[in-house]
Symmetry: C2
Subunit: 393 residues, 2 copies
């Protein structure tokens, strides 16, 4: 029986300071602060804020150059320019590289992320090499962070022969979800693309997470196709649409229609909080559509930006969502509870019985934590201290 | 004679590592790294990057609540809602407060800012109290940071009787510049407003810095009025337009016309890199219009966001400017050399003879410094180490 006592904690959502007793990886007791004497395994938080472990719901771990060389960005503009740049220059830098992924995961851990969903490129050039690199890196961290993978046809599926078979191979090898990519705008046949993706999901009991950059009416139409298939196959609760720019940019009537459809089909959304294309979190929350927030690619051949810090990503979302504490908390919710809901994490949170995945921040409240993003004082995964003051424990 | 030797420095813009000898507050010598033995006052930078001291060209120091209570944002939407909220709730929290300003300046210093231009509210309610609070806070830091103030009619000038006389009083009391605020949109008479502001500037030899949120054709028209007055009065090089949303959002023909006019009149721009309303830094640079970047208000009754970190602000700018190293450096230029140019800082930079205002970052190049924004290793102001590893020295 392992125990950890966090004394004088300000738990997000609670009024008073509390002592948090963690036993065997779960929150065992929450008591009024000051009831306990010091003891072995006790940490005095000094009134710091405790958040549930941050959830990165949309990453591309396999692509990262973190811990490797600095590569000046040199892709042609637009989505296809980035796709080609990623494919063509990957070998030059030895990407995918388990060392780079390990380094990025380390930064994510010290920043308080305890679970990540990573899309992982699957294509005829790399085969399942990216899946293997990411899995190896996660294993090296020995339980400090958990990960769910999405087999992702980054270079297209129909337009990249051999990819569909590889996606199936990935699912056979235990990859949890299957991805899709702009069924119309990139893969040129929305119906055929979605039929294939959903068929694989059904056959292997996998989740679905579709990148949908396509905007306007083309994007809105594909939402309808995804909603239709999710309902017919009874995959509600297992389908995510990532980016969803068509919804972000839609006129109010279209937006409301899409949101209703998503809610009815129990489809979730993932966003990376770009400057343009921010999702209407309040409306989505009111409609019951869960949203997960993610860092997207971090320092890779697509973009030099990013650090893996989910509080920073929450700030990017909050800057668009609004300045009120409750607006900022909406963004943090997407980085925590929303992500857990989308990714199907059970017993996630700050109640007795929940898994003890926690992050401690020197802030007076959640809004301040997002605005200032102090170095994380403590990160706990499954009841074990995995990072302290920005350094892996 | 005081000396400081920075060994093994990677100077922004230089190929090879160098040793930087600082004497009596200036850069005295730049030598190839490794030529010097260790000595008193020697700091081994281990190849870290040296940037010139960051310049915050648009702050509102007087408004801050930094170091004070957390105040959930509660203003009505829009510019006027924020103006009213700031005015009405100021007394409730004892704003302006020299302690809060001191605390914010401390965070700016440890983040590498060595000079700041702060707009300071002047109105019949606060009188010159904000000027005094900011001056006191700057003095408390005893040369660790320098500041230039702009007497700013935040509540309007024509619509707030008594303000014009107070602005004049501020200039008499040595405040360096006079501000203006949406001469049409807020103050209701663009010509009268600008004539009064420019007349005061001319009389007292002061600079001018006009907040121009007004967009569209109304904003474009006011640009023309400002350009006209700057030329006639020969105030080229002393006038800044802040925010400049009308230029950011203009159609290409209007934008190009405004940029030509600004360049001809030698008017500068200030931006705080909002999600929407990013200035076209490359075009402005090509036209010779200098741009300074600023943090705007930091945690005040206008907004809970902000930390005072200019590298973070450069990231916000770079996220819109582009992912190439040279795009990111454009944003950093606005946070350094551009700011120095707009604010008229003499002998600013990284050459022999320049003032030794420097910041040291653990990054391989400028783009990485902006993308990652590591805790600043060392901050030097006038040749003196003023902060180290995020703590005031």
């Amino acid at each position: 029986m392992t125990e950890l006592l966090l004394r004088d904690a300000r738990i997000w959502g609670h009024e008073d300071a509390a002592d948090l007793l963690i036993r065997d990886g779960r929150i065992a007791e929450i008591r009024r602060a000051g009831q306990d004497g010091a003891g072995d395994g006790a940490e005095d938080l000094g009134g710091r804020l405790v958040l549930p472990g941050l959830v990165d719901g949309h990453a591309h771990l396999d692509k990262t150059l973190w811990g490797g060389p600095w590569v000046p960005h040199d892709a042609a503009p637009g989505l296809m320019g980035k796709i080609r740049n990623g494919q063509e220059r990957r070998p030059e830098f030895g990407v995918p590289n388990a060392d780079f992924v390990t380094a990025l995961l380390e930064n994510m851990i010290v920043c308080g992320t305890t679970h990540v969903r990573s899309h992982v490129d699957v294509d005829p050039l790399v085969g399942l090499g990216s899946v293997e690199a990411v899995r190896e890196a996660v294993e090296r961290h020995d339980g400090r962070i958990s990960a769910e993978l999405v087999a992702f046809p980054q270079a297209g599926m129909l337009i990249s022969p051999g990819t569909e078979a590889l996606l199936e191979e990935a699912l056979k090898a235990g990859v949890e979800s299957i991805g899709g990519l702009d069924p119309a705008g990139v893969d040129q046949d929305a119906v055929k693309h979605l039929d294939a993706v959903f068929a694989l999901a059904e056959r292997y009991g996998a989740g679905v997470d579709i990148h949908l950059h396509d905007g306007g009416t083309l994007g809105a139409w594909q939402f309808e196709l995804i909603i239709e298939r999710t309902k017919i196959l009874g995959l509600g609760g297992k389908v995510t649409v990532s980016h969803a720019f068509a919804l972000a940019d839609a006129d109010p009537a279209t937006r409301d229609r899409l949101i209703s459809g998503l809610a009815e089909a129990r489809i979730a959304l993932a966003t990376v909080a770009p400057n343009r294309g921010l999702l209407p979190l309040r409306l989505l929350g009111e409609a019951g559509v869960p949203v997960t927030l993610g860092n997207d690619g971090v320092r890779d051949l697509w973009s030099p930006f990013g650090t893996g810090d989910m509080l920073e990503r929450a700030l990017f979302q909050a800057k668009g969502t609004g300045p009120r504490d409750e607006d900022i908390e909406l963004a943090l919710d997407a980085a925590t509870y929303g992500g857990a809901r989308v990714l199907g994490l059970r017993d996630y949170g700050l109640s007795v019985g929940d898994h003890a995945d926690l992050v401690v921040v020197d802030a007076r409240n959640a809004a301040e934590a997002v605005c200032v993003r102090p170095r994380r004082s403590l990160v706990v995964k499954s009841g074990r201290i995995v990072a302290r003051d920005g350094v892996l424990a």
